[in-house]
């Protein structure tokens, strides 16, 4: 499966519109180990995963942030956000295919139902990730309060903050494990 037609985000979108998006972009076939983006590089394109499996990594240490599967969008800010750099590296695990899209590519698709569907999909996904962050911050607040209260009660005893699973939250935030 290397056509965006099968992706859930394009369900209900006319085939012709999805085909036009596909034609506007550049299809890249990746071998295992090939990098799609590298952390810190200028974000100049977004990539829709069409097939295969990729992995997001965070430097230093190539920390594993989780796998990326068909339908996920790598570096959406390159096309839909402010100019910046890629926050993580993404490398192919299996033979994979991605659709590379730039701002210029999308400028050639005014009023495209496929682009609109992609925007709605990304808004939903990003909202979910931000809610996760929000939940995490509330937990941190609670941990801080508990620690402060314990400190007040027994100045000589400062409890360790409870494990908060921040790494897992970061994985979710940066695109792994949707």
């Amino acid at each position: 499966m290397s056509s965006p037609l099968a992706l859930r985000m394009f369900r209900g979108v006319p085939d012709a519109a999805v085909d036009a998006l596909y034609d506007a972009g550049e299809r890249l076939d990746l071998r295992p180990g090939a990098f799609v983006v590298s952390q810190g590089d200028d974000a100049t394109a977004s990539y829709v995963v069409l097939s295969g499996r990729l992995k997001a990594r965070l430097e230093p240490g190539a920390q594993d942030l989780g796998d990326l599967f068909p339908g996920e969008v790598i570096g959406p800010e390159a096309v839909f956000g402010r100019k910046g750099t890629y926050l993580t590296s993404v490398v192919a695990v299996n033979p994979s295919t991605v659709l590379k899209l730039t701002r210029v590519d999308l400028m050639g698709l005014p009023d495209s139902p496929a682009v609109a569907a992609m925007q709605r999909h990304l808004i939903t996904v990003t909202a979910r990730r931000l809610r996760t962050v929000d939940h995490d911050v509330r937990k941190l607040w609670m941990a801080q309060e508990r620690a402060a209260a314990a400190e007040r009660a027994a100045e000589r005893h400062i409890p360790e903050p409870e494990p908060l699973g921040l790494f897992g939250r970061l994985k979710a935030l940066l695109g792994g494990g949707q």
Binding site: L58, R120, I123, R138, A143
Partner: protein
């Protein structure tokens, strides 16, 4: 809503790295102008989301309640900014309280217009989705940078991302 200068639409568009001044200006035509005095709430956390706000003038204080329902000041949002979209896209309730600081002017897009435009494949819908998405990606970027810093520091020191654009 009439009388909004093109300069505001351009500054809002620029803020989020977009090139949509004319379409954003047209979008503002579908909004209602709201003015609040100092201290008046624009929206309150956990109340139903009934619209999105484009902050035209002034600034608002952003607060969220912690687990003990104590309001914590998170940030100050200054014009131009998008406010109140998180509640609309994530289930209908406000995620923060926004209070006017020294008086504000906002353009309010009601929830029905928001829902209609989100489904609209034309230029106005595209402009709204781009604004909302850019604001959310901006907040996500800041949050992720902050979380990386927290991991580097051993995750013992919490600080809320200094970006109010997604709250409310």
């Amino acid at each position: 809503m009439n009388g909004i200068p093109m300069g505001f639409a351009k500054s809002l568009s620029d803020r989020y790295g977009l090139d949509l001044a004319e379409t954003v200006h047209a979008l503002l035509g579908q909004c209602e102008r709201v003015e609040l005095r100092d201290g008046e709430p624009l929206c309150e956390e956990n109340r139903p989301s009934d619209g999105l706000y484009l902050l035209l003038e002034g600034s608002v204080t952003v607060t969220k309640r912690d687990a003990r329902l104590v309001a914590r000041e998170i940030a100050v949002a200054r014009a131009p900014a998008i406010l109140g979209h998180m509640g609309l896209v994530s289930g209908g309730q406000r995620t923060a309280t926004l209070v006017s600081r020294g008086g504000i002017v906002v353009a309010r897009l009601d929830e029905l217009a928001f829902a209609r435009l989100m489904k609209d494949d034309g230029p106005a819908g595209d402009a709204l989705r781009r604004l909302v998405l850019a604001a959310m990606l901006d907040q996500q970027r800041r949050a992720s940078v902050d979380l990386v810093r927290m991991l580097d520091e051993g995750a013992h020191d919490a600080a809320y991302p200094d970006n109010p654009t997604g709250w409310g």
